[in-house]
């Protein structure tokens, strides 16, 4: 594979917000003392009266957003993942997801977190949110995205700005490799087949998508044809693409930088077990917390949890023997 082009999700998110803010004056942006880090402060420079930094008060961040939303605004509230689902789940549930104006489901608030998963790195296990997908996807009315690259970030931000309802989007802290083409279409509840294959499927999201493609590439050298899916829309999940993969490839490996309990792998497993049960192997944090790792050591941290292209290829080979 070619050397990846690395781009920054937060910068892309910031640019997309400003673009959306120009197109729709109802868009407001809120932050909690991480607005320089998330670069949402740029929105504040462009639209000072539509930008609110509430300080280190995430509960307040979420509920003020709800109040703005009930008044017709479209709030994008952002901070680090560990402080959003990880800290303010009551406010997310009771102030955003639960209140449903007539004919609607939940309030029109977009929660966009940076610093998801283990790849947060040096800040350590206390700051590595490996539970957010489990928390967010169990809350009714919420839709949950994990973009794999900045193109996905841009398109999903635009999509959330237009589509009514509560969303959670989790971005990575570090620069991520470009995966998608500019023309790639992103639809809610639709996975993307990045590479076709007949012998196995790897379902990935976020930073594991590139690893999955690399694994498929190396498997190809060994004569194994591996399908790769970008399951960026974890809720709703694309039952169709998963059933098709199960039926046509007979086994699935999932990979995510999240606890294997309750994450994307669980969502895939739930879906496939009801449509076309096949053997599944879930790669991710093995129900244990992360720890500090310098930027140049993050690969070691991920490796400790088996989140590598090498392990994906290994798991593909193992699971093929368990095919029904």
């Amino acid at each position: 594979m070619n050397e990846p082009i690395m781009t920054d999700m937060r910068s892309e998110y910031s640019k997309s917000l400003i673009q959306a803010g120009k197109e729709n004056s109802n868009i407001v942006v809120l932050g909690a003392d991480t607005t320089d880090s998330l670069k949402t402060s740029e929105f504040g420079k462009e639209f000072p009266n539509r930008f609110f930094n509430v300080g280190i008060a995430e509960a307040n961040l979420v509920t003020i957003s709800a109040g703005l939303a009930i008044s017709g605004k479209i709030p994008f509230a952002s901070t680090y993942a560990i402080f959003l689902p990880g800290r303010a789940v009551d406010q997310i549930r009771n102030n955003i997801a639960y209140p449903s104006p007539s004919g609607k489901k939940g309030l029109n608030v977009k929660l966009v977190a940076s610093h998801g998963g283990l790849s947060v790195g040096p800040d350590g296990g206390s700051h590595q949110q490996i539970e957010d997908i489990a928390i967010m996807r169990v809350i009714p009315n919420f839709r949950v995205f994990i973009p794999a690259d900045t193109i996905a970030v841009s398109k999903l931000t635009q999509l959330m700005a237009k589509e009514y309802g509560p969303f959670y989007m989790r971005m990575a802290r570090s620069k991520t490799p470009l995966i998608h083409s500019e023309s790639q279409d992103f639809q809610i509840g639709k996975g993307i087949t990045l590479r076709d294959g007949a012998d196995c499927t790897i379902a990935a999201c976020g930073i594991t998508v590139r690893m999955a493609l690399e694994a498929a590439e190396s498997l190809q050298q060994e004569g194994i044809s591996c399908r790769v899916l970008d399951i960026f829309s974890i809720k709703p999940i694309d039952h169709g693409i998963l059933e098709k993969a199960a039926r046509e490839t007979g086994c699935i490996v999932t990979a995510e930088e999240h606890n294997i309990i309750g994450g994307m792998g669980s969502a895939v497993t739930e879906s496939v077990s009801e449509s076309y049960p096949v053997p599944i192997k879930r790669i991710g944090a093995q129900d244990m917390f992360g720890e500090s790792a310098r930027d140049d050591e993050i690969n070691l941290l991920l490796e400790k949890h088996g989140i590598t292209s090498f392990n994906m290829a290994k798991q593909v080979k193992e699971i093929r023997s368990k095919k029904l």
Binding site: G55, A59, N60, S65, I70
Partner: protein, 555 residues
Amino acid sequence: MGLNYYQIKKNVLRARKLVIKGTNSAGSGHPGGSFSMAEILGCLFNKYLKFDPKNPQWEDRDRLVLSKGHAAPGLFSNMAVAGYFPESEIETLRKFGSRLQGHPDLKCPGVEFCGGSLGTGLSYSIGIALAAKIDSKEHHVYTIIGDGESDEGQVWEAAMAAAKYKVDNLTVFLDRNFIQQDSYTEKIMPLDEKLEGDDFSEMWKDASRWKTGDKWRSFGWNVIEIDGHRIEQINAAIAKANATKGVPTIIISRTIKGKSIEHMEDNPQWHGKAPDSIFVPMINLELDSQFMIAPSIIAGDMSNLENEIKRCVSGRADYVHLDVMDGKFVPTKTFDHNKIKELRSLTVIPFDSHLMIDEPVKYVRDYVDAGSDIITVHAEVTDESSFGEIHDLLKQNQVGVGLAINPDTELPEWSYKFLNSLDQLIVMSVVPGKSGQKYIEETHAKMARLNLILKEHDFSGYIEADGGVNLENIGSIFADGARVFVGGGAIIGQQDVRAAIRDFRNEVLHSRRRILLDKSNELGGKDLVNKWIGLHVIGEKQEQIKKIAQEAGYL
């Protein structure tokens, strides 16, 4: 929009009865906290909130956020009274398929906030207020928070944010009833000062121990502190809050959990418990039996009425009764509207202006402009036409409409058509214009005759007893049906006005307790009497009521 003092009071009463009906029907719910905020919601719904029950989503409506969501029965009851849905719907409260959920919910059109998880309503209100600012909208946000929920840290996150963003389009009421689910707030998590021992009344009496206002002031808020059951204080506070620019306002409202029902008042048990059906008739009767004390200042020093007003204020009078005499309708002359206007600035206590003047229709406007809250004219000097004119003028100006009859006067037939919208009927029990007269005993029989007529014509106002009322006869006058008591010499004539008013209240309370025991005995004999007494567990009430029951021969 904008009802007069009595109309607000009547709607508050209606709402309280619906709270009882709803929670009784549901078998659960929170009457205590619904009653502590009853007057606050009453003033908002009936005077200040801009809304349209036929168009709940009207863009320019004011927003009411009930952060202490467990008091949902109080909110729903006021919405029913305001016409959002039929009052009968309150019986679906907390039941399957109902719009009236256990906690306020957007499922019910007109509800602005899904409350329940405490400590979040203020943040939400800030969001609404900020949105209004962005859109240059004029509507106002009113938010009710509880003292128990002030334990939540998010309340203080919001307190800081509201001051930072200068949301002066937000007014918060703190329903400071001193009780949360487990016990008294000052035992669980003090907002003022930790309560040692169990005597909660100590906390109430000693204002120097109240620190909650200081907390909010230090957070940068405009703080107004009031008695949250006094309609006039709530009204004045809202007006002041709305006039304050650049900072948010919190109105710290000292209230009584379960207010209006003796056995619920200040009793933590009634935080979240529904009344049993067997007690509902007595509870409703008790709600119908609220009363007011109205000192008449002309019984004091006529050369220093300002001081008499001050004595009424420190005596905690419900009204100031102003006897206007013109020297024609009655032989004596007292003062006119000019004096009332001068006195008005001294207090917000309702001015109960009793016009003993000829041709009141000619002058009534002056008494409205002088700041009267209730104006009563005499049947002897009005007729259907002139009273109709007065009636309409007063209602339009949010002034209570009163009609008075002298001892020798029977209620004229022309007045019957006004009875269902009449706010106050003064039944004179002395001949007006002379001081120091004794109560005319025939008035008891007259009240019995009157009650029949009033009932027949759907009178829903308040009867004011005026003349010779004293500690010996006030109980029986209350039993006759009077609910407002003018006290001249017996109150203002006393050295200690506060003690005199307290004595008046205690006599009425005694009479009311007897009436409620009579009702219990009538409906369920000794067994129900005992059960009713058993409900009164706070303070010395139980012993006092038991004694009354013994005297009545019920035990």
